[in-house]
C-alpha cells in the first residue's frame, strides 16, 4: 500500500512539475523517459482508441525501451466487466465519464482520472454516400438500413442523445457491441449508415465516408484515463498515462482526429 501511494505522489509531482494539475489535461512537454522503467503494462482501452493507442504504445515503447505495453481493446462496458472480474489491467482508458465514474465508485482506480481527449459523432456511410445521407433526419428515411451501438456502449448512448437533439426517431436494425463492429458492417456493405466517432471515420480511411453532424445536435465525448488499483507496475502505468496527456501524446491523438483535452 505504501509503495502505491508513493508512486502516485511521484506521478502527481511529475505532472505538477510539468506544469499541469492531474485533474485537467496537459499542455506539458513530453516527460523525460525514466531509465528505471521496465516490465509489462496492460492497457485496457475503448475500441474507438484502437488506432491511436496502438501508435501511442509504439512511441511510448521507443521512449522507454524497457517497457512492453500490451493493449486490450473492446467496448468500454466490456472492459469494465473484465476489470471487475479480475482481468490483469494496469491502465483503463474509457470512452465516457459514466463508466470511469463506475470504476472509481467501485474502488478499482488508483487516484483521479485524467481527461486526455474529446471526440464527436459523425454519420458513417459507404464510400461515395450512395444513399445520399445529409444528416441525422435521413437515417429515418425508408430504404436506409441504420445500425448503431447498444445503449451501454458510450457511442450508442451518445448516438441516442444526438438523435434526440435532432428530433429524429429511428429504429436501428442492430445494436452492435462496439463502434468497430458498426464500422465493419458498413465496410462490408451490410448496413447503410451508423453513428460513430469522427476518429473512426478517419481511421477507416477510404473504406467508408463520413457525414458531419451539426454542432447543435452533436455530442462531445470525453475520454478519461486512469491507473488501476490492481496494477503490478505502477511506475510504468503512471508514465504511460502521463505520456498520453503530454504534448507528444496529445499531438498523436489529434493526428487521429481527436479533439485536444483542453
Amino acid at each position: 500500500m505504501r509503495s502505491r501511494v508513493s508512486w502516485f505522489v511521484v506521478a502527481a509531482a511529475l505532472l505538477a512539475a510539468c506544469g499541469s494539475s492531474p485533474s485537467t489535461a496537459a499542455s506539458s512537454p513530453s516527460p523525460t523517459p525514466s531509465p528505471t522503467l521496465s516490465g509489462n503494462i496492460s492497457v485496457f482501452a475503448a475500441a474507438s482508441l484502437t488506432a491511436s493507442f496502438t501508435a501511442l504504445g509504439t512511441s511510448f515503447q521507443a521512449a522507454n525501451p524497457g517497457v512492453t505495453v500490451k493493449f486490450n481493446y473492446a467496448g468500454t462496458p466490456t472492459l469494465v466487466t473484465q476489470i471487475e472480474q479480475g482481468a490483469p489491467a494496469d491502465v483503463f482508458a474509457s470512452a465516457d465519464t459514466a463508466n470511469m465514474d463506475k470504476m472509481t465508485a467501485d474502488g478499482f482506480t488508483a487516484g483521479a482520472s485524467l481527461v486526455f481527449a474529446h471526440n464527436q459523432l459523425e454519420i458513417v456511410v459507404a464510400p461515395g454516400n450512395p444513399k445520399g445521407i445529409t444528416g441525422l433526419a435521413d437515417l429515418a428515411k425508408s430504404g436506409v438500413l441504420y445500425i448503431t451501438e447498444g445503449p451501454t456502449v458510450p457511442a450508442g448512448k451518445y448516438a441516442l442523445q444526438a438523435l434526440k437533439a435532432a428530433g429524429v426517431t429511428v429504429t436501428p436494425k442492430s445494436l452492435e457491441t462496439s463502434v468497430t463492429a458498426v464500422i465493419s458492417k458498413i465496410e462490408l456493405g451490410e448496413a447503410d449508415a451508423g453513428i460513430v466517432y469522427t476518429t473512426d471515420v478517419t481511421a477507416a480511411g477510404s473504406k467508408v465516408a463520413g457525414v458531419p453532424i451539426p454542432a447543435a445536435q452533436n455530442v462531445i465525448a470525453t475520454y478519461p484515463i486512469v491507473v488501476l488499483k490492481g496494477t503490478t507496475n505502477a511506475a510504468a502505468a503512471y508514465a504511460f498515462t502521463s505520456y498520453v496527456v503530454s504534448v507528444t501524446g496529445q499531438s498523436t491523438l489529434t493526428s487521429f482526429g481527436f479533439l485536444p483535452a483542453t
Partner: protein
C-alpha cells in the same frame, strides 16, 4: 465384471480433469442470485430472447432434418469420388470458430455477398439483421452434428430388413419411410437433439451474421453476453437456464451418443 483397481495417479489426474469442468458450473450455481431468479426469468427481455431462441433453434433443427438426412443418406449409401472431402466440408463448422462461420456467411449471403447480392437485386431479400439470418447461422453451425449422427446410424443399421422389404415389393420410398427411418430412429432423434442444443447455444455466427436486436436477432446467448455488462445477476441466471437445457439433452442422450455402457 471384475472391478479394476485404479492406479492412484490415474485417479488423481481424472479427478483434476473432472474438477476442471465441474468448478465453473459450480461457480455459476453458487454465484447466481436465486432470490431474483423468478424476476430475471420473467423479465420481458428474457421472455423475448427465450421465445426467439426457441423459434430459431427449432427452425434450424427442422431445416437440419430436411437437408441433413438426405445428405447423411448420400454419405452412407453412395460411393462417389470426393465423398470424404465433401463430408469434411459439410461438417467443418463443428470445428470452425463460429465467428469465422459468421464472416463466411456474410461473404456468401450478405447484401454484397456472392449469392446474397443476387438475392437482394432479384427478390429484394436481405438476410443479415433478420430472424431468417439467425436460423441460417444456427443451421450452419448445428446441422453437422445431425449429419454425422444420422450417417453413423445408417451405416450401423442392418440393411437386410430393407432388402427383405424390397423383395416383398415395397417401393423405395415406402422402404425408406417404413423400414429405414424407424430403424435409425434413435440416431435421428439423437442427431436432432444435438443439433437443437447446439443451435440453442449458438453465439458467434449469430452476432456476426445476424447482428443483435431484441425480438429480432437477440437470442438467449446474445442476451446473456450483453446482460453481463449491464445486469450481471440476470446473466448468471440465464446462463444457468442454458446450462440446464444442455445438461438435460446430454443426459437424455447418453446411451445413444456415447454408446450404451
Amino acid at each position: 465384471m471384475r472391478r479394476e483397481r485404479v492406479p492412484i495417479i490415474v485417479a488423481a489426474l481424472a479427478a483434476i480433469g473432472a474438477a476442471f469442468f465441474i468448478l465453473p458450473l459450480l461457480g455459476l450455481v453458487v454465484r447466481s442470485p436465486w432470490g431474483d431468479a423468478v424476476k430475471a426469468l420473467t423479465a420481458p427481455e428474457t421472455i423475448e430472447a427465450l421465445k426467439l431462441s426457441l423459434f430459431a433453434s427449432l427452425s434450424a433443427t427442422a431445416v437440419g432434418l430436411v437437408l441433413g438426412v438426405p445428405l447423411a443418406w448420400v454419405y452412407a449409401r453412395v460411393e462417389f469420388p470426393g465423398r470424404d472431402v465433401l463430408r469434411a466440408l459439410t461438417t467443418l463448422p463443428m470445428v470452425l470458430p463460429p465467428v469465422v462461420g459468421g464472416i463466411a456467411l456474410l461473404l456468401a449471403f450478405g447484401r454484397r455477398g456472392l449469392f446474397g447480392s443476387w438475392l437482394d437485386t432479384t427478390f429484394g431479400i436481405t438476410l443479415p439483421f433478420t430472424t431468417a439470418g439467425v436460423v441460417m447461422a444456427e443451421t450452419f453451425v448445428a446441422m453437422p452434428f445431425l449429419i454425422l449422427t444420422v450417417e453413423a446410424g445408417l451405416r450401423s443399421m442392418d440393411r437386410r430388413y430393407e432388402e427383405a422389404a424390397r423383395t416383398l415389393g415395397a417401393s423405395r420410398w415406402r422402404v425408406f419411410t417404413r423400414v429405414t427411418l424407424p430403424l435409425i430412429g434413435p440416431s435421428l432423434f439423437a442427431g436432432a437433439a444435438l443439433c437443437w442444443a447446439r443451435a440453442l447455444g449458438e453465439f458467434g455466427a449469430t452476432i456476426t451474421f445476424a447482428g443483435n436486436f431484441p425480438g429480432v436477432t437477440q437470442t438467449m446467448p446474445l442476451a446473456v453476453y450483453l446482460q453481463l455488462e449491464t445486469n450481471q445477476e440476470s446473466s448468471f441466471i440465464l446462463s444457468l437456464v442454458l446450462l440446464l437445457i444442455s445438461l438435460v439433452v446430454l443426459i437424455g442422450l447418453r446411451d445413444r451418443w456415447l454408446g450404451s455402457a
